[in-house]
């Protein structure tokens, strides 16, 4: 029994983590709920392996299950419930504002991406200019070898860059 429950907790943790890493807010919220369920199951398991009730009947203390973890879990469930409700409201608000269920980009990330893109463009321009100059020099040296000087000056004149 303990093994089955432990495996269930592990599965909940795994699915929760997977969903948490998605971009849709609804999936993130479900992921968080699954994580909390996994943790709660773990706490229930920490009471011991037997399935006896905690307070019903009478007998020696050893015959009963430890009630404290169940009190913990009840508290934790209530808290998770409240916070999940808040999170859903927040996700709805986000949807109203952006008409999109996706986690929005981080502003800093976007700035960095834009700067990198700008640098790429600059690099490309610089490389193009360099290639241009090299071609022209090649043409110049060819011209100096084969053409008269007047034509060479005209060739230099028509390059605006």
């Amino acid at each position: 029994m303990t093994v089955v429950l432990a495996a269930a907790a592990a599965a909940l943790f795994g699915c929760g983590t997977y969903l948490l890493l998605q971009r849709q807010l609804t999936r993130v919220i479900i992921g968080l709920a699954l994580l909390a369920h996994g943790a709660n199951l773990l706490i229930v398991l920490s009471a011991g392996s037997r399935g006896e009730p905690t307070f019903i009947g009478s007998g020696a203390a050893e015959d009963f299950l430890d009630p404290l973890p169940q009190a913990f879990v009840l508290t934790a469930i209530v808290i998770t419930f409240g916070v999940t409700a808040f999170l859903l409201a927040l996700a709805y608000r986000s949807w109203v504002l952006t008409h999109d269920d996706e986690v929005q980009d981080d502003i800093e990330d976007r700035l960095v991406a834009r700067r990198t893109a700008a640098e790429d463009v600059e690099d490309a321009l610089a490389a193009a200019a360099e290639a241009d100059r090299a071609v022209r020099e090649l043409a110049d040296s060819d011209a100096s070898a084969t053409e008269p000087a007047g034509h060479r000056a005209a060739l230099g004149h028509e390059t605006p860059r």
């Binding site: 993130v28 994580l35 920490s46 409240g82 916070v83 927040l90 986000s94 981080d106």
Partner: protein, 491 residues
């Protein structure tokens, strides 16, 4: 004594309920909020005096004996944290009332603010890991609401990050609780310290490290700090000031408590904590240097300053932990003041962006003074409180021969000064911006609490001797876990 211990938790909760009932009348709400926080300030000062005179005090709520019932316990650190937070919460409430804004627009501000107070107080006073979880949740849920009060697009975006990361931390905390209970059969901190002795070393260390991760997310230590500079700046100024001054420090408090109370001296992860401290300091201050907005710069500095506190703890000597305690007390006041001043700048000039600010020294000299003192204190310029705190940490580090961390801390200090100079030259020096002359005067309700906090931080520097002496007594209590155990479990 029972009343002194339970009042900081029970009173703000009752007041929050009352504040909802009288929500129709803003004056009544304000009176309830101010009176509650003033009473709590008085209570916590009384508690601090009692605890410093007689040693730690504990009470069992509901009368169940120690490992089973709800334990409230105040030692010197908890009482001091309580006093400083109450001062700061009261000052910020006055500021928020003076500022208008969210406080005026939303009927929920006062009740949620009081619930936050209850959560913070409970986190300091609880003697039980599960109740620490509950207090964290009370505090965090209130902070979610306060962070997103306006429900603007940027608030929802950053609020989402903040809520999700906090919930992941909460799920981890629950997991840690389950594992701890399975391993040791108790979650009472004092009882746990005894019973963890029978648990295999590997399991014990894994549990305490899991707790370090959980509290590390709340305290924003490296590498778990990424959510903080994103989410804090979008909240209204008064709220950001509370978050900046208090919430991460509750996380640090939990780290200090768990690392000192749960582990015997030989097992404490000194090198790990010092490495985390160095990385936190460096990453935070480098992030701050790259920023161009007052609130964002200050938010990155929170991260950097957290590193100093972890450094003091990581030394695990009386001098080191005393330095950390002094640092926390100094930091709560100074950081809050800086954010409040940032709010004054925004109110005066209409923006917090350094490119669009300038010449405030000429147009608003009062703001300039109120910014300069805490900023220099944050950087550690003598004779301000930050200098005393950093000196204590550096001396403690040198005593133990940790040259590397001491070097890092001094370099980071210098970079902090550089970053503060950036705000100073960007906002206060230079040519005044054209629109700055036509501003209405700043409300006294905003200026007075800021000035009071600046005065308090000067007092912490002026009475550095007695305050540091107190911090040393607190550190002795923390490092010798048996005092705490005797208080909670009885002799």
């Amino acid at each position: 004594m029972t009343a002194l211990l339970t009042l900081p938790v029970a009173l703000p909760l009752a007041a929050a309920a009352l504040s909802v009932v009288v929500g129709r009348w803003r004056t009544a709400q304000r009176a309830v909020g101010l009176m509650t926080l003033t009473t709590l300030l008085g209570t916590s000062v009384a508690l601090l005096v009692a605890v410093d005179r007689d040693g730690p005090e504990a009470t069992q709520v509901g009368g169940w004996p120690a490992p089973f019932g709800i334990t409230l316990v105040a030692d010197r650190l908890a009482a001091a944290m309580l006093v400083v937070s109450m001062v700061m919460l009261l000052a910020v409430l006055v500021y928020a009332i003076g500022q208008g804004g969210e406080e005026r627009r939303h009927v929920g501000f006062h009740p949620v603010y009081l619930a936050l107070t209850a959560g913070v107080a409970a986190a300091f006073l609880t003697g039980d890991l599960f109740n620490l979880f509950v207090s964290f949740e009370v505090m965090l849920t209130s902070s979610y609401v306060l962070l997103t009060l306006g429900a603007r697009a940027d608030q929802v975006r950053s609020g989402m990050t903040y809520v999700v990361i906090s919930l992941v931390a909460s799920a981890l905390f629950l997991t840690a609780l389950g594992l701890t209970y399975a391993a040791a059969g108790t979650v009472n901190i004092a009882d746990l310290a005894v019973r963890l002795g029978d648990v295999p070393v590997g399991v014990r260390q894994a549990l305490v490290l899991l707790l370090l991760v959980v509290f590390g997310i709340k305290a924003a230590i490296f590498p778990l700090f990424f959510w903080l500079p994103d989410s804090y700046p979008t909240a209204p100024t008064a709220i950001t000031a509370v978050f900046a001054g208090l919430l991460t420090k509750v996380g640090i408090y939990a780290i200090v408590r768990s690392q000192t109370a749960l582990l015997p001296p030989g097992d404490r992860p000194e090198a790990l904590l010092l490495a985390i401290a160095a990385a936190t300091m460096l990453v935070g201050v480098l992030g701050a240097i790259a920023q161009n907005d007052v609130k964002r710069i200050l938010s990155f500095h929170i991260v950097s300053q957290i590193g100093y506190m972890v450094m003091g703890l990581g030394l695990f000597t009386v001098a080191g932990v005393a330095g950390a305690v002094y640092y926390i007390l100094h930091h709560i006041i100074v950081k809050t003041t800086l954010f409040l001043t940032g709010g004054l700048v925004e109110r005066w000039a209409g923006t917090g962006h350094l490119d669009r600010l300038g010449g405030l020294v000429g147009t608003a000299p009062v703001i300039a003074v109120l910014f300069l003192l805490p900023a220099l204190s944050l950087a550690g310029i003598p004779p301000l409180s930050g200098f005393v705190a950093k000196l204590a940490l550096v001396e403690a580090g040198l005593d133990q021969g940790w040259w590397l961390i001491v070097t890092v801390s001094l370099v980071v200090s210098l970079l902090t000064l550089f970053s503060m100079t950036k705000i100073w030259t960007g906002a206060f020096w230079g040519e005044p911006e054209p629109a700055a002359d036509t501003q209405p005067p700043l409300p006294v309700g905003m200026l007075a609490p800021t000035a009071a906090l600046v005065a308090l931080s000067l007092a912490v520097a002026l009475f550095a001797g007695p305050v540091y002496g107190f911090a040393e007594r607190a550190a002795v209590d923390l490092l010798d876990a048996s005092v705490y155990q005797r208080t909670v479990l009885g002799p």
